[in-house]
């Protein structure tokens, strides 16, 4: 559950889950974006992100590299296609959630990962701020809090991008945390795991997006008596 951005020196984009032909496509896209159909590449990446929980956590990296490679020649086809596809998925998120919780969770993880990696002149994309918040607010609703998979996703995203999100819109972050406090205190039937996760994130934010040493020991120490 504790997360940190992986700075893998081997530049592992975790594309092993793709079939070989697609892997080749992606590798070409990373080096020579103009040589491939970037719309196809963006769809391939989004599709996989919605299916593969592992990939959804780190797909932002490969997207970032492709965007940079294209930007060298003043292109931004990939980014545009990626974002517009993301927007379609965002609009359909409620149906996605009804159809498959896992896909919904993958989507949230992916869009947050994109928010984390794809910066615009060193700033997060303003266009994504409200959509990301919307997703997190959805995860903070009672029916989602009763689902550990969704609570886990919620706290994971807050760990990764909470501070950045707050900087972009602190009011919405405040409102989100009202919901989380309420959920923690009032929601009946919340599993003990869910309560643990919520308590930790409440403390995490209260400590300015970091855990005190003692809290760290409490939550993450493997030694329990």
């Amino acid at each position: 559950m504790p997360t940190s951005k992986m700075d893998n020196p081997n530049e592992d984009y975790k594309i092993q889950s793709f079939d070989l032909e697609t892997q080749k496509l992606l590798k070409t896209a990373l080096k020579e974006p103009s040589a491939v159909d970037l719309e196809k590449v963006s769809n391939v990446i989004v599709d996989q992100s919605l299916k593969d929980p592992v990939f959804s956590k780190e797909a932002g990296r490969i997207c970032y590299t492709i965007v940079q490679a294209e930007a060298k020649h003043n292109g931004n086809v990939f980014r545009r296609n990626l974002l517009n596809r993301l927007q379609l998925e965002f609009k359909a998120r409620e149906e996605t959630r009804l159809r498959s919780r896992q896909e919904w969770v993958c989507f949230v993880t992916f869009i947050c990962n994109i928010f984390d990696y794809l910066k615009v002149n060193s700033m997060p994309m303003v266009a994504l701020v409200h959509p990301v918040f919307d997703c997190l607010f959805r995860l903070a609703q009672p029916d989602s809090l009763n689902n550990e998979e969704e609570v886990d996703c919620l706290v994971l995203q807050l760990h990764r991008i909470g501070d950045q999100l707050e900087k972009m819109n602190s009011q919405r972050m405040d409102e989100l945390f009202y919901l989380l406090r309420d959920g923690f205190l009032l929601q009946e039937g919340l599993s003990s795991m869910a309560r643990l996760l919520l308590l930790e994130i409440l403390e995490f934010r209260a400590g300015a997006w970091t855990l005190s040493d003692t809290a760290q020991k409490y939550y993450y120490s493997e030694v329990n008596d």
């Binding site: 292109g75 545009r80 994309m125």
Partner: protein
Amino acid sequence: MSFRQKSKCADGEYNGDENRNRGPSKWSNCRKRGADGSMRSNGDVDSTSTSDLKKSNPTHKHPDNRPVSFTTPESGGPVSRCTDWGSEVETDEMRTSVRRDMQRYRRRILTADFGPRERTNSSGSSDSRDSPVPGEGMEDDEEVLMRRQKQINYGKNTLAYDRYIQEVPKHLRQPAHPKTPNKFKKYSRRSWDQQIKLWKVKIHAWDPPAQQGSELQAIEEVDLDDIMDIELDFPELDSDASAQPVKVTKAPSSQLDTCHGTPSKMIKMEASVDLDMV
């Protein structure tokens, strides 16, 4: 920050109508702003006569009795009508880039004023005569700068431009080489648009060889004397770049000979357009 015109989806398209004053149309009473961009009060000639409305009052109702809150709120800058994320992010990126460029440019002007003139090698509008024309100042209207930057981006997002900058590093550039117009200088709309056109035509000299053949053919077939406005399509190799048609107004035929290099006629004509352009 004011914006004069609600930009449309196809923002890159050249809209020459912007500064034309057409006079009140039948919709003008619904507009929040007059043709010159200033906010309208109910005392305007264009508005329908609803005599009981208050004048210049922020809480006044619009001529068709919409409450003020019904209108589009002022935003931080020009906003695209399309709310697709791709466009939003592009616009956002351009706005932050323009702001950052503006800061850099201001700093450079200040140091140019106080220190010896330097030839900079930085990317961005490096004009050896960066110091502003006295009495004019620099262009700082964000909407204008963004529009200009978009036009520049269209020119730079081409194979020809890529080839050009690889072939001719900045320190080897001659006056006749394409030079990106300086978006921070004050120019009239027409002057700026003309500079962009000419700049892009010059860049086409670096089109990949396959294109240049067809380009020459198109020129030979056209009789310039009979035609006022022609559009020459310079097809791009990469499918995603917009194929920008180059509008060529009735002009000496030498203008189209840029593929052979820049004959002296061309240079003279440029000089007459705008002395600062080189």
